[in-house]
């Protein structure tokens, strides 16, 4: 309960502070043009942005998902002893195969 209230409290505090400190923005048209060192753009910058490491982000999600199993595992590691070590070793070995495969396919770089 306290955790949730504290988190909500800090968020509200920061938002109020930011609103108070940041004045309303205003600009004339030439000021509002995006900065390009004196150059001009042809179009809006918002676009279907080609995020180059897209394969990496998919692999990352899968990896992140299983990392979530590791937190409860860490708590009982000492009390479960060698069994926990073996089981997590197996789990991580399976996942490392995925990383090795991704590396071999060259997904950890800009496509």
């Amino acid at each position: 309960m306290q955790a949730v209230i504290v988190i909500l409290g800090w968020t509200a505090f920061a938002v109020v502070l930011a609103r108070a400190l940041q004045p309303a923005a205003n600009s004339t048209a030439p000021q509002a043009a995006p900065f390009l060192g004196g150059g001009t753009p042809d179009m809006h910058a918002w676009q279907r942005f080609h995020f180059r490491p897209y394969s990496m982000s998919l692999l990352f999600i899968a990896f992140e998902m299983e990392m979530m199993f590791m937190y409860p595992w860490a708590v009982v590691f000492v009390s479960e002893g060698i069994k926990a070590l073996a089981e997590m070793g197996m789990f991580l070995a399976i996942l490392s195969v995925g990383i090795l495969y991704g590396w071999r396919e060259g997904i950890f770089r800009w496509q």
Binding site: P30, L36, G37
Partner: protein, 303 residues
């Protein structure tokens, strides 16, 4: 009360200067901006003073006006024609103090009209016909096209960068088509301004690359002739970038750091840049000494 303190502190802060560098003045400006009381702003939004060094050709006045208007108010423009560093540094601090004391600063130079006419067709007035049509908020949207790397046909963003972009050599106007952050096409719209041989000095060339690597303090030290204090400098530049005459960008940086002048044959920029990611492209350009770049761009422009 709080406001007076704020203004007093603001007057004592290093003067944030954005430099628009003209023909022949690159080396002098780069040396000037390493002085302790001055701060080299990387974007006009962070600057209060626009320093215009040298005589700009009339073709770049429009860009200068655009740049001037992008500085937040209050702002001041200073022109620097002679080479006296002491005098201009003093003028900059005086101008900053005047701004802090409540001087009005300069008005916009360009008219306050949007880039394109707004076409109020959509139900809310800002759009065109269909999801991708029209000029919402005064500009069209990017459209899909071919990609040079993985063949995924997403949007292409075309823009001109320069002539006063902080990461490009002064005077160079590049028209680039980006897909994501990878350059698909590049063409030289205006060549860099001519610079004397002094701009090829190893310390200055090394400092330009160091700034791109995020080592501003180290770059200032190198220009002032002090030993470099930084780690993993040459290693951070990828191998094989802009390989010309058997030297790549990393080789040239290490030569400059050992105070050796580098000469390279002028490359074909329009062929060199496409296919590289934006930060690689900027490293490629910074790894070419200004003299080679100027000759390269002139050749491309003529062709």
């Amino acid at each position: 009360m709080a406001m007076t303190h704020l203004v007093r502190w603001a007057a004592r802060a290093p003067a944030p200067v954005y430099a628009a560098i003209g023909p022949g003045r690159q080396a002098e400006v780069e040396r000037l901006l390493t002085r302790p009381g001055l701060n080299r702003a990387k974007t006009p939004r962070d600057a209060a003073i626009l320093l215009v060094a040298g005589d700009l050709p009339s073709s770049s006045l429009d860009a200068l006006n655009r740049l001037h208007d992008q500085l937040p108010r209050p702002r001041t423009t200073l022109r620097w024609l002679d080479g006296d560093q002491e005098a201009i540094a003093h003028r900059i601090t005086t101008a900053l103090r005047a701004l802090c004391d409540g001087a009005a600063g300069e008005d916009d130079r360009l008219p306050d009209t949007p880039a394109n006419e707004w076409k109020g067709i959509g139900p809310h007035g800002q759009g065109g016909k269909g999801m991708m049509g029209g000029t919402p908020y005064g500009r069209p949207m990017a459209m899909t096209g071919k990609d040079v790397r993985d063949g995924l046909q997403l949007d292409r963003y075309t823009t001109r960068v320069g002539p006063f972009a902080p990461m490009l050599p002064p005077g160079l106007v590049l028209e680039v088509t980006l897909q994501g952050d990878v350059i698909c096409e590049a063409s030289v719209q205006a060549a860099p301004f001519a610079q004397p041989a002094e701009a090829d000095a190893p310390a200055l060339c090394a400092a330009r690359m160091l700034r791109l690597l995020g080592l501003d303090a180290a770059a200032d030290r190198v220009i002032r002739g002090r030993p470099l204090r930084a780690a993993w400098v040459t290693g951070a530049v990828p191998r094989g970038l802009a390989r010309i005459n058997d030297t790549d960008a990393r080789d040239r940086l290490s030569a400059w750091l050992r105070s050796r002048t580098v000469t390279v044959a002028p490359p074909d920029l329009a062929a060199l840049l496409p296919g590289s990611e934006w930060s690689e492209a900027m490293l490629i350009l910074a790894s070419l000494p200004p003299s080679a770049l100027i000759r390269a761009a002139r050749a491309t422009e003529a062709a």
